[in-house]
């Protein structure tokens, strides 16, 4: 009986976080996370992000700010919505790439680590990736990070999205087979990329 109660409790906790639909549990506004490893290539085209409160979002002690987002199907779906809303599709298309690099493949120019992806969105990257830091809340950036990583199957299957109510132009995120990320070291091979 005790085992059962414990099991229920664990399940309850797991269920609670996994299905929580709380839009903002992180303070609004975003900045580059302090102490995150910095790439040699800094900053994005728009220059240093206009971060009003640089350390408003100190990383949680365990250093896993992405964890709650990457375990929540709801957060990933929000990321998917924002991916459309903030016009990520404009350059990256639905993951297949265009002006920007494809996101659904196994190549990661700046590394597939959530912190790195977060950094790419916050600070921007050369060759056209704008910086979103300071424009949108950090929670939304983490949602985008989670979604972007889910596109190539890096998140558990049960949080990745299935088809949306649009034309199906690519296999759904859930149908992607997780591919081992390449270029994990993060040497920016900007030369390899055509424009």
């Amino acid at each position: 009986m005790k085992v059962l109660t414990c099991l229920m409790l664990v399940l309850a906790l797991a269920g609670c976080t996994r299905e929580r639909r709380k839009p903002t549990d992180v303070a609004p506004s975003s900045a580059r996370p302090e102490g995150s490893p910095e790439s040699a290539l800094q900053p994005g085209p728009t220059g240093t992000p206009p971060s009003a409160e640089p350390s408003a979002v100190a990383l949680p002690a365990e250093g896993m700010p992405h964890a709650p987002y990457e375990q929540s199907a709801w957060a990933v779906s929000e990321g998917k919505r924002l991916y459309q809303w903030y016009n990520c599709v404009g350059c990256h298309a639905n993951g297949g790439g265009g002006m920007g690099p494809p996101l659904m493949d196994d190549k990661w120019i700046y590394g597939s680590d959530p912190i790195k992806v977060h950094q790419s969105i916050v600070d921007g990257r050369p060759n056209g990736m704008p910086a979103f830091g300071g424009k949108i809340p950090d929670s939304q950036i983490w949602q985008l990070v989670a979604y972007v990583r889910s596109m190539s199957g890096l998140l558990p299957k049960d949080v990745r999205q299935t088809r949306s109510d649009h034309m199906s132009v690519r296999p759904s995120e859930q149908a992607m087979r997780p591919a081992k990320p390449k270029n994990e070291a993060g040497t920016p091979p900007s030369a390899e990329r055509p424009g």
């Binding site: 303070a27 009003a52 809303w85 809340p137 929670s139």
Partner: protein
């Protein structure tokens, strides 16, 4: 009596009502409703009276020991009962047929309330707000607004209904019944207001977390005022007047606002949230949730999730000056 008066006073304070109508469509439906209401009330009273009498009569004849049947059946009497029931059924059928006829007639007269060349509004449902476009053959004369539509008094208005996400349903009880907005199934509804005034409506099909706060304000204006309003809406946004407002415009354009919202005449061209070109002319904020006052607007900008948990608008932490500047700018968007 006192209680009745109190109840009476209760019903008079409703902001919306399907029975206090303001247009021909709702009026005809209300007329049909009252026909049904009175006939059904009479039937109900008669049935309950029969039930009460039957119970009273049966109890008076009751014999207290509780074993076995206590009535000897007389076949002639039973046949009489059967005949009476048959008669009642015929009567029921006649009443139902009358109901059917009345329904059919009302349906036809509702379908006839149309016109050509009037105002056509394209209304699109989003979670959880409404985008309205006043159609015009000339693209530059198309008016885009949100959550508040104006219609001319006395003229049928065609509303084309679309949804970009889930199913919503348009319902302004004073003007007409519901019509669903269904993705993949364009719909249309003709409405008409015969009295000037403000008529509140709302989404009537459950559409997610903030279904409760997806209201639509319909303002019926006399034709000349309506035309004036429409002309005013066609003008692009007013340029900011003073420095504070200029600063506010900069905040709007460089911050996160412009990612989602559009203000005609500026670089802000976001298409996923309400158009704010004439925000200051609207009566409410957040799809009828808040009155449009500077205080509420400030609260809404800073912490929309407190007002409308789950809405798509994220919180914005602006410095006090930036916020004041932004408010000053938005206040000027009449």
């Amino acid at each position: 009596m006192n209680l009745l008066e109190r109840l009476q006073s209760l019903t008079e304070r409703f902001a919306q009502s399907a029975l206090e109508t303001a247009g021909p469509q709702a009026e005809r439906i209300a007329a049909l409703w009252w026909l049904f209401f009175w006939v059904c009330t009479i039937i109900f009273v008669l049935v309950v009276a029969a039930l009460v009498f039957a119970l009273y009569r049966g109890r008076a004849r009751s014999v207290e020991e509780s074993s076995g049947p206590a009535v000897t059946l007389d076949s002639g009497r039973e046949a009489g009962i059967h005949r009476k029931i048959f008669g009642l059924i015929v009567l029921t059928a006649i009443i139902l047929f009358a109901f059917l006829l009345a329904t059919e007639m009302t349906g036809r007269s509702l379908a006839s309330l149309t016109s050509s060349g009037g105002v056509t509004i394209e209304l699109t449902g989003y979670r959880w707000w409404w985008r309205a476009r006043y159609l015009d053959p000339a693209p530059e004369r198309i008016v885009v607004t949100a959550n508040e539509i104006h219609i001319p008094v006395g003229k049928p208005v065609l509303i084309n209904l679309y949804s970009r996400d889930v199913i919503h349903s348009l319902w302004v009880p004073e003007l007409h019944g519901k019509r669903d907005l269904i993705p993949g199934h364009p719909n249309a509804l003709w409405i008409q207001a015969d009295r000037p005034g403000r008529y509140d409506g709302q989404c009537a099909e459950f559409c997610g977390q903030q279904h409760a706060h997806m209201r639509l304000i319909v303002i019926a204006d006399p034709p000349d005022r309506f035309d004036a309003w429409l002309d005013a809406q066609r003008v692009t946004a007013q340029a900011p007047g003073d420095d504070t407002a200029k600063r506010g415009m900069e905040v709007f354009l460089t911050g996160s606002c412009a990612l989602c919202h559009a203000i005609q005449g500026t670089d802000a061209n976001g298409q996923v949230a309400p158009d704010l070109t004439h925000i200051a002319s609207r009566a409410t904020l957040a799809a009828g949730t808040l009155p449009n006052t500077p205080g509420h607007l400030a609260g809404w900008i800073v912490d929309p999730q407190h007002v409308k948990p789950g809405a798509a608008m994220p919180p914005n932490s602006l410095s006090a000056e930036d916020l004041q500047a932004l408010l000053a700018y938005l206040k000027g968007l009449r």
